[in-house]
Symmetry: C2
Subunit: 353 residues, 2 copies
């Protein structure tokens, strides 16, 4: 997507250096973060310099490439196995991360000990995965836009826009397609505490693209629905079980239940790589618990332009900080994939393969 | 309640000066704010130095007393009528505010032009209302504690504790009673964006009283319920319509719907003065929309002990900031009043009178 007239992807690789839009600096500063080693890329994933299911999938694939660059000593397989475990340990919930690491690892390991050949294939594999991520986003956009009619008011949660992917996004891709096609849309952007990906990243994206939008507190969902101000809900996904149960940012589940209560269609948008066929249902999805500090403190921009972190909760109290929740398939109207919109159920999912 | 060994009420009056715990300084500093005039008290209500249905009821009554002190010129009735309108204009949703202003105004106006007598009766009336507010809170606590059994995990939203009343609170009063009776309770405290009354005030109260609790993002409700970690939900109320529909802090409605979905009892705790018999149903309740800045910015404590305000949303984006939502009676298991727990329905409500 374009930022100040220049085309960017969220993340890319040049030789053994990974470049990514620094999502901790956004929305206040637009900066590119450079990661020279696979360990640096792992830290960037963990600290959410790069985040969003698709983007961390690409990041993980690139990190694996970096590990192949670094594996030049006498026991490369041991090193690579360790690197793979380390990358997989950064964030446990996003399916795309495991998918990309596996693909790149297997492609490269077959070529060893020919290091040159291995580097060639892992680079190609990781770039292909990133390219597919982008192509899938375009397909989801085109397909999902069919759900959006002129004048619709759409609620989204967290950020499943182009910053959460290599480009375009999943949940926001249909919004962009509808907007570009001249349909008037209005997006209600759920703040998404504690990290505020809605208020910071989704709002920044929509503002950057000129899409009409309004930020609301996460508590405003039922209020808006009860007032008849939401026509459609679309969110992304971090992992979809074989039966359609979907893990996504904490707060997605309540939006799905509320949408059902108010008879509003609730869609998940995710590429097929997000589906984990080995995971029979939502109960088997591991939910990452993050540091309570993310709830207790907030970072933002002071009046005089400094980034500052402040305590926003009562000192002495503790917080629980699960990053995701699981929405049972029964609350999901459909899943927007790059191959079409399907029902959230095992049979429809299996047909995709 | 006790703070550092000393007994406090949330708000009180001495002559024509109103004293209140400064709820903007909490939880970081415990300070008493002094208001010398009715206009200062109005500003304190508007700016949320004092907040919570019961506490702003008391504040409004005291502001009316201050207006009687100030009405010493040739047209006191005109002045008082203007003052009354001004006080009523501070916050439109809380029923207790209108109730208290009306009571104090009528009591005093009958005694005019005898200023001395009028001052006597308005002081007595306002103090009586504050005292009743406190007594009602104790009754709600005692009655509501019957719903709480040993080991229960209770979710609350916003602050309907003693800071939201003259003392004790509505939603938290049963929790305190249960705790004092030796029942082990654990309170999940919903952060309550944008103002964070849960994370700041409720957490501070519970910490101060030694009640076990955990702060969670507002998005965690369904997650906790789906995991079977909530046994009971209790919130306060700002206005209850004659049919039981209840206006309370934005986000209450979704908690009520989610509680129903997961078969968890959802109670409102509020004194009878919160009921507005002239309001037939929820659609007639006026919902205050507050400044978008409350969403776009956050105030808190820096590492070096300064209060700082930071921007937490993307610059250029706007926010919608409704302060309340209306929970239809059908989602409410019961209303805890000072006269007993009743069903949220017209017949049961009328029986209270």
């Amino acid at each position: 997507m374009k930022v100040k007239g220049k085309e960017y992807r969220t993340i890319w690789i040049e030789k053994s250096t990974v470049f990514m839009i620094n999502q901790l600096s956004l929305p206040f500063r637009f900066e590119i973060y450079e990661s020279k080693t696979y360990l640096e890329t792992c830290d960037a994933i963990k600290n959410m310099i790069v985040r969003g299911a698709g983007a961390i999938g690409a990041a993980a694939g690139f990190a694996m490439v970096q590990a192949f660059y670094e594996a030049r000593y006498k026991n490369p397989k041991g090193f690579l196995e360790k690197a793979r475990k380390h990358i997989e340990g950064t964030r446990p919930t996003a399916r795309d991360l495991f998918y990309a690491v596996e693909k790149v690892y297997q492609a490269g390991i077959r070529e060893l000990p020919d290091r040159k050949k291995a580097l060639e294939v892992v680079e190609m594999e990781a770039r292909t995965l990133a390219m597919e991520n982008e192509m899938n986003a375009y397909s989801m956009g085109k397909i999902g836009a069919s759900l959006i009619s002129d004048g619709m008011r759409i609620l989204t949660h967290c950020n499943a826009g182009w910053l959460g992917f290599v480009n375009m996004g999943s949940a926001l891709a249909p919004v962009y397609f509808a907007h570009w096609a001249g349909k008037r849309v209005h997006v209600y952007v759920s703040e998404t505490r504690p990290r505020g990906q809605g208020a910071r990243l989704t709002a920044w994206e929509l503002h950057n693209e000129g899409v009409a939008h309004t930020i609301v507190a996460d508590t405003a969902t039922a209020y808006l629905m009860a007032k008849g101000r939401i026509d459609l809900v679309i969110t992304g996904a971090d992992r979809i079980a074989a039966n359609g149960d979907t893990a996504n940012k904490l707060g997605t589940l309540e939006k799905a239940i509320l949408a059902k209560e108010y008879n509003i269609p609730f869609y998940i948008a995710a590429p097929i790589s997000t589906i984990d066929l080995e995971c029979p249902s939502g109960e088997h999805i591991i939910i990452e618990e993050r540091d309570e500090k993310e709830v207790l403190f907030q970072t933002g921009l002071t009046n005089d332009g400094r980034m500052e972190t402040i305590r926003v909760c009562s000192p002495g109290s503790h917080a629980l900080n699960p990053a995701f929740d699981v929405t049972p398939a029964k609350y999901i109207t459909g899943i927007i994939t790059e191959k079409g919109i399907i029902k959230a159920e095992a049979r429809a999912i299996l047909k995709l393969y």
